[in-house]
Structures are given as C-alpha cells and as structure tokens.
C-alpha cells in the first residue's frame, strides 16, 4: 500500500510542483493550503509524512508541527519542514519542535524526493 | 554633631539680645531707686534677664536634640 503524504503550503504553484513530484514517486498526496487545514487533515488522514511550509495563513508551520508532536497518536508521523526563510535560528527552531528534517526553498527536487524517501523508509 | 542651622541662628540672636540687654542704654532704664519686693530694681533686672537668656539658650539647645 502506498504511503500517504500531506503537502501543506499556501503557495499554489509550489503545491502543484510538489504534488506532481510525489505522485510521480507513487505516493498518495493530500493538500492543505493553511495551517489549520493541515492539522485537521493530518489528524483525519494520518499521513506517514507531512511536508510543512512555515509561512502559512492562520497557523504557521511551527505551531502545526508542535501540535502534531503533542499528540501521541501521531507519534510515528514524519515531518519535513519547508521554508523560504533560511536562517539558522529557524532551522534549529523547527528541529527543536520535533521536525524530522528541514529543507529550505528553493530546493533541489532530486534532494527533496530523496529526503522524502529516506524519511518514509522506501 | 551639628546643631540645626536654626538653632545656631537662635543662639546668635540670644547673644545679640544679651548685648543689648546688658549695656547702655537699656541698662540705664533700670538704674534708679526703685525696689521690687524690697530688692533693688537693677539687681532684679540683671538677674532676671540673665536667667531669661540662660533659659532661652537651654530651651533652644535642648529642643534641638533629636
């Protein structure tokens, strides 16, 4: 059975590209365009991996990450933070909040896919 | 060990007051053959003024002790 991946980003074009990339890799892809939607979909659909943009309306990626990590039922969920703010503090903040990996935009599609595969163990 | 400035000024006032009380012309006012309860006026005057000055000094000084 294919792995389920949730893409949470408010930039439609980035979502399109990520969706395309991950579907091509054979993953089942869910999309959320803001933090709240991301959290709800993660709870409802239990994806194995969340690609989480930091700068999102309503609830930012950090908060979503924190909320996910606070929920023991979703302990196994992998989280990959995506951000256009490449500052070290943000990277460490994300990792400190329990993200499994951190990728800065713009990213290499190959690297991102490799990263996703590694996180999902495939 | 400082007297309050006011106390110092009061003592100076006592000094000046005494200078006036114990000298001409005030003294001459009492230099006459009048008795107070049989005691010569000048004698009564000087000792009364003297005692008064001492009392004033005592009052000013002792009151300034906090």
């Amino acid at each position: 059975m294919s792995k389920k991946v949730l893409i949470a980003d408010d930039e439609p074009n980035i979502v399109i590209s990520l969706e395309f990339l991950l579907r091509r890799e054979g993953f089942e892809v869910l999309v959320a365009v803001d933090g709240e939607e991301a959290l709800n979909k993660a709870r409802a659909e239990r994806p194995q991996l969340v690609l989480l943009d930091v700068m999102m309306p309503k609830m930012n990626g950090f908060d979503v990450c924190q909320a996910l990590r606070a929920d023991p039922e979703m302990a196994g969920m992998r989280i990959l933070m995506l951000t256009a703010k490449g500052r070290d503090t943000e990277v460490s903040k994300g990792l400190g909040l329990g993200a499994d990996a951190y990728v800065t935009k713009p990213f290499s599609t190959k690297d991102l896919v490799a990263q996703v595969r590694q996180l999902l163990g495939v | 060990m400082h007297l309050r400035i006011l106390t110092g000024e009061r003592l100076v006032a006592v000094f000046l007051c005494g200078c006036v009380l114990f000298n001409y012309p005030l003294l001459s006012l009492f230099d006459r053959r009048v008795d107070v309860f049989g005691i010569p006026l000048i004698y009564v005057y000087i000792f009364a003024a003297w005692a008064g000055l001492i009392a004033l000094m005592a009052w000013f000084i002792e009151r300034s002790r906090d």
């Binding site: 408010d10 365009v33 703010k85 713009p106 290499s108 | 114990f22 000055l53």
Partner: protein, 931 residues
C-alpha cells in the same frame, strides 16, 4: 575646733580626696571608661573660671562698686551663646592639628612659628603668674584668718612669716606635686588629663555649694532675706548707691569693657583653653555646657551682693576687709562648720585654678620656649638620643615647679601691693591680647606671621605700659610721677591718660589703646605682603576647619620619608611603646596592614607630625619631622592650587552631581536611541527576511518546475505547457517584486526621480481605469466613475500617480466577489486639494488590519481565499508616493461592507515632501525644480 591641726587636717583630707578622684579618673580613662564624658562634668570643669578672685574677690568688688562685678560673668554668658561657633571651631582645629595650648594654636596658625609660640608663652606667663600668686595669697589669707579664730584679724602681716612657717608655701608644694602627678603622668599626643578634669569638676561643685551655703546663711540666717538687707542698707549712709546703680567710677563704658574683657578671657585664658578645648572629650558636650556654665555663673553670683551688703552692715567701722566677708561673717557668728566649708570652697577655687593654669603654662613653656631653644642649641645631641620622652616630662615637671614657685615668690614679694590685688583684670587684659591673632586666625585667611607678631607685641607692650607698669607704680615699686606726670614728665605719655585720653577707667583705657595697637598692627602688617605657602596652608586648615570633613593637612606636604625613621622619631618623644601603639592604630585604620609595610606617604608623615605636635608643639614637630623626611618645599602657587582644590571640592562635587544627572539623562536618551536603532535593525532584518522570503517563493516554483521539465523529457505536452506557463508567471512575479523593492528603496532613500508636472487627475483616472479594464472584465466586475468636469490640475508626477491608481484598482479587483464585483472611483475637489476614492464591494478589511496593509510585505488575505496575488509592496509604495506630494492615503472599511481606499492631494504643496523626511525632501524638491 577651728585650730591649726583641724584646718590642716581638713585641707589635707580635701587634697587627698582630690588625689583619689583624679587617680580614679585616670584609671577609668586608661580603661576607656571615661568618667568625664558628660556635658555636666564639662560645664563644671569650665567653672575653673571662678577662682578665689570670684570666691572672695567678688564680694570685695561688690562692697566697693555694687553690681560692678557682674560684667565679669555676663561676658562669658554672652560668649557661651556664641561658643557654639567659636569654641566648636577651636576644638575642631585643635583636635585636627593636635594643638595642646593657646601658644601652639597661634604658632601653628601662622606657619608653625617658634617665635610666635614663644611670644604668646611669654605674654601668658607674665600675665598669669601674678594671678597664680593671687590664689596663693587668698589661700594664705584664709588660713591666717581661720588660725586667729575666734578673733577676726586681718591677714595683712602674714607675709612676714618665714617661708617654712607659711602654710601657703606648703600648699604651693602640694599643688605642684598634684599637678606633676596628674598633669604629666605621661606624654600623650592629645595632652588630655581626665583625672585632673574630674578633680576640677569636683572642685567646682564644692566651691558652688560652699558659696551658696554661706550666701543662704548670710541672707536668710543672719538677715531676713535680701529685702531686709536692702531695707537696712537704705537706712545706712552711702550704702544705698551700691545696691541700685552702675558704679560711677566705672560707668557704662567700663561696664562694657569688662563684659568684653571677660568674654574674651573665657576663650583665651590658658586654663579656659585647656579645659574647654584641649580637655574636651566630645564636641556635643559643648551644647549643654553652653547654658549650664552660664547657669553656674549666675548661681555663684546670686548672693554676692547680699553678702557684701550684709558684711558692710555687720562689720561697719570695724576695718574688716570686704574680700574676707565670705569667711569672716560665719566666723563672727561662730559658725565653725560653715567657716570651714567656706575655707574648703576657697581652697577649691584656688587649687583648681592653679592646677589647670600651671598645666597649661607648663605645656606652653615646654613646647614653645624650652623645646625650640633645645632644638636650636642642642639639636645634634637631641637627635642622637633614643628616648626623649623622659626629658620632655622632666621639662614639664620642672616648668610646673618653676611656675608655682614664681607664683609663690611674686606673692611673697608683692604682699598686699595693688599689683597683686588688681591682677584679676590685669591678667584678663593680658590674655585679651591673644584675641585678634586667634579670632583673626580662625576667620581671616590674610593674617600672616608678621602681622600676628606685630599685633601681639604691640598689644602686649601697650598693656605693659598702660596697665602693668601703672600697677607697679601704684604698688610703690615705681615712682608715682610715672603715673601722674608721665615718663620724663611728658604729659602726653601718662600711661593711663595716653595721648591725653581721659574719661575712661583704666581697664577701658588699656583695652582701647592695646586693641588699637594690636588689631592695627596685626592687620596693617598682614596686608603688607601676601601669606607664604606655609601660612596659607595653615590658614586654610584653620579657617575652613568646620568645612572639611577630613583635614586637608596631609595634602599640603610633599616629600619622602622612611617609616622606620618616623617611628623612631615619634618614639623618641612619646616613648617607643606609645609610638608603636599609635602607628599600629593608624595602620589598622588604613587597611589593617602591618606597620612596617605602611607607605610613608604624605598622610603618614602628617600623622607622625601631629603626634609629635601633641607632645612638643607644632613648630618643633615640624622641625623634627623635617630632620628625618626629605620635604620638597611647596611653592605658594602650589599650595594655593591644593587649597583651591580643597575649597573647590564642594563645588566640584556639586558640579559632579549635575554632570552625573546630565549623564544619566544622556544615557537614558542613548538607551532609548539604541532601542530605536535595535528596533530599526530588527525591522530591517525582518524586511530583509521578508524580501528573501518573497524572492525565494517564486524561485522555488521556478526551480521545481524547471527540474521537473528537465528530468522528465517525456512529459505530456499539456503538462509541459502548463508548467512552462507557471515558470513564466513566477518569473514575472519575481521581476515585479524586484522592481517594486528597488522602487520602494529608492523612494525611501530619497533617490527616486520625481517629474512634477501639471496633472489632470480626471484624465489620469480614466487612463488608469482603461488600463485595468481587462482585469475587471476577467473578473466579471464593473467600474463606475464619478468624475466631475472642470477640476483644477495638480502638480505631481503623472507616472507615479498612474502607478498609485493602478495599484488601488488592481487591489480592488483582487477582492471583488466573482461576477458581482463593483468598483466605484470618485473624484472630489475640496478647498485645498483633490480627493480620490476607490471603493469596492469586497469582503472589507478588519479594523485591526487597516494599518497593517500599508506595511511592507503585509498581505491580509481573506480567510476563505488563498493568499492574494501581489507582492505586498503596492500599498506601501502608493502611500509614499502620495505623501511625497503632500497628500495622504488611507482606507475606510468595515468587514462585509467593502473597502474604500482614498487619497488626498493638496493644490499647493506645502512642503509635503519635507514633512515626511526633511533630508530627502530637499533633494526631491531640487529634482522637481530642475524639471
């Protein structure tokens, strides 16, 4: 009962009691538990002022001149009111400089001059030794009177007794012994004698009690109160005047002179200086003593007149000397106990005066006469000796013995002579000569050594000429012609009508001429030249004694010394143990280091010098310290600099406070400025972060799609085209973003080019709407224009205003509801400008977001829609453009009721550009004028 052995036993018993009290006082002082640390004891010890001259002599004076004796006690009362300032200052100065006598005080003030100290000592000795003689005479007389009890025989001939049969000789010896034992027990830097003070206080108590006792007895025992005495006096011939009037021989001038003289005596008599200044153990005692001592004076004088008048009535025509009334009245009434008490009281008055006066004089003689002479004559020999403290003590003891013997000798020689009887006031007049140098020295910086020497010498000579020599003449030791004709029969030089001055009593006469000479010479000589460095530095120590919290003496010395030399030097005079103890104390108070590692700096040298000053006088101390320390002399200007520094310290500290307040304010401002800068920095950081974020976002899409396209050549054509389209649009977005960022940066930095022309706003709006009509059509929205004709044109940059309009219109379009959108653009002319409004029927903007939207990169998206397209820079740029032309851009909106963006442009530019940023405005206006 009143026989020789009884009197001798009583006297002996009393003296033993004094010894015991003094011994106890010293013992307690050694234990650090002073028994004299009380204002009452201090006030009582001050009453050493009242000698036998008071005890026996007041009644004598009153019998002659009525209340004429009172100024001698009124003067001190008045001065004690001022004592607060004068005595306190003297005490401070003496403590700070270890001054132990009035000679030392004057010598030290005028540059530590041996000559001055010596002169003062000579004046004091000449003036005081007869006074001591008077005390011995009084004791001798009282003994003689008592020995003839029950008869009353005037002691006129007692002086003819052989010396070894004369009891007053033995009394002089006992007093010498007492004074030596308790006055020179050890050399001490402070020269304080607590045991002696305790004994003196006791004596003051005894004399007051005995005098009050005899006064009460005479007034209420012998007579029926003062009124009774006054009534009887009124009946007697010639006596009434005594009770009621200022004595004619004296007059008000004499009264005033006596008051002044006594007031000065209470400050400058050596014994008063000793008790009030040197022996003072706490400044605060001065407070209560200021009224207790006058009270003592009042009490001891209360019964003087009643006793005098009572005696005159009682012994009328019997030839009894009024000086003896105090004793003879009880004797005549067979009141043996009272007579003995009075005798003891008189003995107290005499011994107290003699002891203190002798100690004070011996200190002066030792420190200001003998030591300087020794230093001068035998300096080398002294320098070789390792412990001079015994020598010093020996000198003092010798001085005490010599002074007392001199006093006894004078008493034997003078006998009943006028020169002895009148010595009380003559002495007062002698010590009054110290007043100009003392008071001037404490309050006038300009006084110099020369001035003091001249003043003291002149005053002393005039005193000798107008008071001392005449007293000799009156005693028959000089030809009477000297008085009546003047020397060499020059009438103008008659000593008591000097230069023809008549109408004054002899005391006033002397006081006037001596002060005239003294003060005149002091001031005249002082102002002839400026003070030397040494004088100026000492002047400051004295004049500013109450101002400096710490003595500045140490600051006025510069040089090098070795600690071991200083210790050895002080040890030689004080004894090695005392010196070591003193240095150890000093070390403890200076960081608790060991004595041998102390730094021999100016402060330590000053300390050593002041230790020595206590023992050998300040002038000698300076000489001795100079012998072991290499002093670099300070020039006058250097001293002045240091003193200036010292005197300016307070103003400096005020200045410092002011500066520190200013500094605090500046620091606060700096802090605030720094916070603003940090805030700006943070904002800049945020903006940079936002800019990079905004740049990275389209870049991310572009890169992702490019890589997808590259990695998948077999992609469907439709996907390929869609992705390429996205890449292009993201690239356009990126371009737009970069342009706008640069544009905004240019506007903000003032580097933007502005091309101000006459702009027809109506045409401009129509043009803008036309340019965006495609957008509206795509959105299915309508635009309504409400533009009046005939509007004045406005001065602005046409292209920039187009930019604003396009931004507002495209913003409006973004938020329009699909297919029902309506945008109304209106233009209105006001009194001073034009107002444009662009209203949409979109979702509106929350009040809390209405300011936010004008911030850079702040896009407020509707919660239901995706992130709005655009860079987030349009509105900030538009607002700056409008503001540049002196107008303003704002929004009116409520949620659900659409939003209306308005801007107002004034007709006349009232420096709008400068309103925003003055520095930039100039540049902008310059560009505008150019075009």
């Amino acid at each position: 009962m009143l026989n020789g052995p009884a009197i001798f036993a009583a006297s002996l018993l009393y003296l033993v009691l004094l010894f015991a009290v003094a011994w106890w006082g010293d013992k307690r002082a050694d234990q650090g538990r002073s028994i004299i640390a009380s204002p009452t004891i201090y006030a009582l010890s001050m009453a050493v002022y009242c000698t036998t001259w008071t005890f026996y002599g007041s009644v004598g004076r009153a019998a002659v001149s009525g209340i004429g004796f009172l100024p001698i006690y009124l003067g001190p009362t008045l001065v004690m009111a001022l004592g607060w300032f004068l005595l306190l200052k003297m005490i401070r100065i003496a403590k700070a400089n270890r001054i132990t006598s009035i000679a030392d005080f004057i010598s030290s003030r005028y540059g530590k001059s041996h000559l001055l100290g010596g002169l003062v000592t000579v004046i004091a000795v000449v003036g005081i030794v007869p006074y001591i003689a008077l005390q011995l005479k009084a004791v001798s007389g009282s003994v003689s009177l008592l020995l003839h009890y029950p008869e009353i025989v005037m002691p006129g001939r007692s002086a003819t007794l052989p010396v070894f049969a004369d009891m007053s000789f033995y009394i002089a010896l006992i007093l010498a012994a007492f004074t030596i034992v308790f006055g020179t027990r050890h050399l001490d830097a402070t020269e304080r004698h607590e045991g002696m003070v305790a004994a003196i206080a006791l004596e003051s108590g005894v004399k007051l009690v005995s005098f009050l006792a005899v006064g009460l007895y005479v007034t209420y025992g012998l007579y029926d109160g003062f009124a009774d005495i006054a009534r009887r006096v009124a009946a007697a011939d010639g006596l009434h005047r005594l009770a009621t009037a200022i004595p004619t021989g004296q007059g008000y001038t004499g009264w005033f002179s006596l008051t002044l003289l006594a007031g000065l005596a209470i400050l400058f008599l050596p014994r008063q200086f000793q008790i009030a200044v040197v022996e003072n153990v706490g400044e605060s005692h001065l407070k209560r003593a200021a009224w207790l001592f006058p009270l003592y004076l009042l009490l001891i004088n209360l019964f003087v007149l009643p006793i005098a008048l009572g005696g005159l009535l009682h012994f009328a025509g019997q030839g009894v000397d009024a000086d003896t009334f105090v004793l003879t009245l009880p004797m005549a009434q067979r009141q043996e106990g009272l007579a003995l008490l009075v005798f003891i009281g008189g003995l107290s008055a005499a011994t107290g005066m003699v002891i203190v006066e002798t100690i004070a004089l011996s200190t002066m003689v030792c420190n200001d006469l003998v030591m300087p002479a020794l230093l001068r004559l035998r300096g080398q020999a002294l320098a070789g000796s390792s412990d001079l403290s015994r020598l010093l003590l020996g000198i003092r003891r010798g001085a005490i013995a010599v002074i007392l013997l001199l006093g006894y000798l004078y008493f034997r020689l003078a006998g009943e002579a006028y020169a002895l009887v009148a010595i009380g006031l003559i002495s007062f007049a002698a010590v009054a000569q110290f007043a100009p140098a003392m008071i001037g020295g404490m309050y006038w910086r300009g006084g110099t050594r020369g001035g003091a020497l001249a003043g003291l010498s002149a005053g002393f000579l005039v005193w000798c000429y107008t008071l001392l020599l005449p007293s000799f003449a009156k005693s028959g030791w000089l030809a009477a012609d000297f008085l009546t004709q003047g020397p060499f029969a020059i009438a103008l030089l008659r000593p008591q009508q000097l230069f023809g001055l008549t109408g004054l009593d002899e005391i006033s006469h002397c006081l006037f001429w001596s002060f005239f000479a003294n003060i005149g010479a002091y001031i005249a000589v002082s102002i002839m030249r400026p003070p030397t460095a040494a004088e100026a530095s000492q002047a400051t120590l004295f004049v500013d004694a109450l101002k400096h919290a710490r003595p500045v003496g140490a600051a006025l010395w510069r040089g090098r010394a070795k600690i071991s030399d200083l210790l050895a030097l002080v040890g030689r005079f004080l004894g090695p143990q005392r010196a070591e103890a003193a240095f150890a104390d000093y070390a403890r108070s200076h960081g608790g280091v060991a004595v041998d590692v102390l730094e021999a700096d100016a402060e330590l040298v000053h300390f050593a010098e002041s230790l020595l000053a206590g023992a050998i006088g300040s002038a000698s101390a300076r000489v001795m310290v100079a012998s072991v320390a290499t002093e670099e002399p300070l020039s006058l200007s250097e001293v002045m600099d240091i003193l200036d520094e010292a005197s300016q310290l307070r103003s400096y500290s005020r200045e410092l406070e002011r500066k520190s307040r200013e500094l605090e304010a500046a620091t606060r401002e700096l802090k605030a400025a720094n916070e603003r800068l940090l805030e700006l920095d943070r904002v800049k950081d945020d903006i940079m972060s936002s800019v990079t974020h905004e740049l990275r976002t389209p870049l991310t899409s572009i890169r992702a799609f490019s890589e997808i396209l590259r990695d998948d050549p077999k992609m469907h054509l439709a996907d390929r085209e869609r992705f390429l389209g996205l890449v292009v649009s993201e690239a356009e977005r990126l371009t737009r973003l970069i342009n706008q960022t640069l544009d905004l940066a240019k506007i903000e930095s003032g580097n933007a080019d502005w091309h101000a022309t006459e702009v027809d706003l109506k045409a401009l709006i129509e043009q803008s709407v036309a340019a965006t009509s495609q957008l509206f059509r795509e959105r299915g929205a309508n635009v309504e224009l409400d533009l009046p004709d005939q509007l004045p044109s406005i001065l602005a940059d046409h292209d920039r205003l187009i930019q604003v309009m396009l931004n507002l219109l495209s913003n409006a379009v973004k938020f329009l509801p699909p297919d029902a959108g309506l945008v109304r653009v209106s233009l209105r002319a006001g009194a001073d400008g034009l107002e444009v409004a662009v209203a949409d029927n979109g979702p509106g903007i929350r009040v809390q977001d209405q300011q936010l939207i004008f911030e850079k990169f702040r896009q407020v998206g509707d919660s239901m829609t995706a992130k709005p397209a655009g860079t987030g820079l349009g509105l900030p740029i538009s607002r700056r453009i409008i503001e540049h032309f002196g107008g303003r851009l704002w929004v009116q909106s409520a949620v659900g009721e659409g939003a209306t963006f308005c801007f107002f442009l004034p007709f006349a530019q009232t420096g709008g550009a400068t309103e925003i940023a003055p520095a930039q405005g100039v540049h902008s206006q310059f560009v505008m004028e150019k075009t």
